[in-house]
């Protein structure tokens, strides 16, 4: 019958195109996936694009950036958690998604559902004030907040997001009350600050640096142990009077149960990549930096961070 002949041809073509033979090769023998759990255009997806564009040389297989947004990162993370733990699917995670929210929200995944592979970099947050705000440094800001409880209005991003946590740390360390308004992201938060609707914000250097340099906002302090290289005259929060350390890292995680040798291979691949001049040039172009940590080191840092965040949140809830 003519119909089955064309069906047979189609199936034959299909079989040729499907690499059945691949499953016998060593890891990795098919493309790797790096899942970004946020919509395209943000810092995470930008870093992911740069990583996946340069990764093939260091992993032996292409790495494909998959965007799976929703629920502030929850949907993408859950999908990676449920995927096969064979090392081919990684989550491009960050502290709010992997360290904080599983502890304080009812999410479909737990902290232990992921194993850290490699940290790519981290950024501190920079506290900034509106140009017309009644304070210009950390001491002034804290004094104003003490004198006017709940009157210092700041732009926040999302519940339990990067900016939210930064301000919770500030409020706890200084014992003050401020009012935060969630605007959904760095862009809208910055807009409201520039427009004079709010007085303060805390954001990644890549978002606020230009506005600081052009004088549109006042820099308060940096939540790190050292000053930010590109903006050397902004003090760290510790230097300015209150110790606040908040590192927003970006790192690759795999689902729990992935074989350790594959984790080590992936980790080694990332280490080589973060030393490559081509990769570093691209990272430099977007005003970011690289701070590689291997799997075990990374796991230690995250564990400490999780403990600190738990303490912070317990003190808020009371």
């Amino acid at each position: 019958m003519k119909l089955s002949k064309s069906m047979a041809i189609t199936l034959a073509c299909t079989a040729l195109l499907t690499p059945f033979w691949a499953s016998a090769q060593p890891f990795p023998n098919k493309p790797l996936r790096l899942v970004t759990p946020y919509p395209p255009g943000g810092g995470t997806s930008l870093h992911a694009s740069i990583i996946t564009a340069t990764a093939e040389a260091f992993f032996g297989q292409p790495m494909i950036s998959v965007i799976r947004a929703g629920g502030g990162g929850v949907v993408g993370a859950t999908e990676v958690m449920k995927s096969a733990n064979d090392g081919y699917t990684m989550l491009f995670g960050d502290p709010t998604l992997n360290s904080l929210r599983p502890q304080v929200e009812a999410l479909p995944f737990k902290i232990d559902d992921f194993v850290p592979v490699a940290r790519i970099n981290y950024s501190p947050s920079i506290f900034v004030a509106a140009a017309n705000a009644p304070f210009s440094d950390l001491k002034g800001m804290v004094e104003y907040a003490r004198a006017n409880p709940d009157k210092l209005v700041y732009s926040s991003d999302n519940l339990n997001g990067l900016t939210y946590v930064a301000f919770e740390m500030l409020k706890k360390a200084s014992g003050t009350r401020m009012k935060g308004i969630e605007f959904g992201g760095g862009g809208p938060a910055m807009t409201q600050l520039l427009g004079g609707n709010t007085m303060a914000y805390a954001g990644l250097p890549v978002v606020v640096a230009d506005h600081i340099s052009s004088g549109k906002v006042k820099a308060i302090c940096v939540t790190d142990t050292v000053r930010w290289a590109a903006l050397k005259n902004i003090p760290t929060c510790e230097e300015a009077g209150t110790r606040i350390i908040w590192h927003f890292w970006l790192g690759a995680m795999v689902p729990k149960g992935t074989p350790q040798d594959r984790i080590d291979m992936l980790s080694a691949g990332f280490e080589k990549m973060t030393k490559d001049p081509g990769f570093l040039a691209l990272i430099g172009r977007i005003n970011s930096k690289v701070d590689y940590l291997g799997s075990k080191e990374f796991a230690r840092v995250i564990a400490d961070e999780q403990k600190d965040l738990k303490v912070l949140y317990d003190s808020i809830k009371k």
Binding site: S6, M7, T10, C13, T14, L17, T18, R33, I64, V66
Partner: protein
């Protein structure tokens, strides 16, 4: 002049009935589904429950308004319902979605497209099969090879 008793406007009846039920359902499950402890808390404009409550109220009111117009004349509404073929088309689409994790996206596209061609009574079956092979192939090349967007792959392709 002969006046005809206005017949039951079935469209309004159907829409009205569904809307009233849906509106009531939304408001009823609000406390459980939206973490607002009581309905009164939902009425706070700042609460997470306000907009769902508003939606439920809008749907409910629209349903009641439809039911009040049960005798309204039909204005350019479609009275010719031949849902047999669209239902089959919907089943083909649903079957495609259910089957593709098992067989793979592109392997499932071929029978889906061919069945739809048959449904549209397209006479030249060989051309239909050819198109049903080439279009998924083209989509594969464009999405997976060029744009690097991976589709679910199953047992076949």
């Amino acid at each position: 002049m002969m006046t005809t008793q206005a017949s039951l406007n079935r469209t309004n009846a159907a829409v009205g009935g569904v809307a009233v039920l849906l509106g009531l359902a939304v408001i009823a499950i609000l406390p459980a589904q939206v973490a607002a402890p009581t309905l009164g808390a939902a009425l706070d404009l700042r609460a997470a429950g306000f907009f769902p409550f508003l939606a439920g109220v809008l749907i409910l009111c629209s349903g009641i308004a439809c039911l009040l117009q049960l005798r309204a004349p039909l204005i350019d509404e479609d009275t010719d319902w031949q849902t047999g073929r669209p239902a089959i088309a919907a089943c083909i689409a649903a079957a495609f979605v259910l089957v593709l994790p098992v067989t793979g996206t592109f392997a499932a596209m071929l029978p889906m497209m061919f069945c739809l061609s048959l449904l549209f009574r397209y006479p030249h079956k060989r051309i239909a099969v050819a198109v049903a092979t080439l279009v998924p192939l083209g989509i594969y090349v464009l999405f997976e090879r060029i744009l690097l967007i991976l589709f679910p792959h199953g047992a076949l392709f």
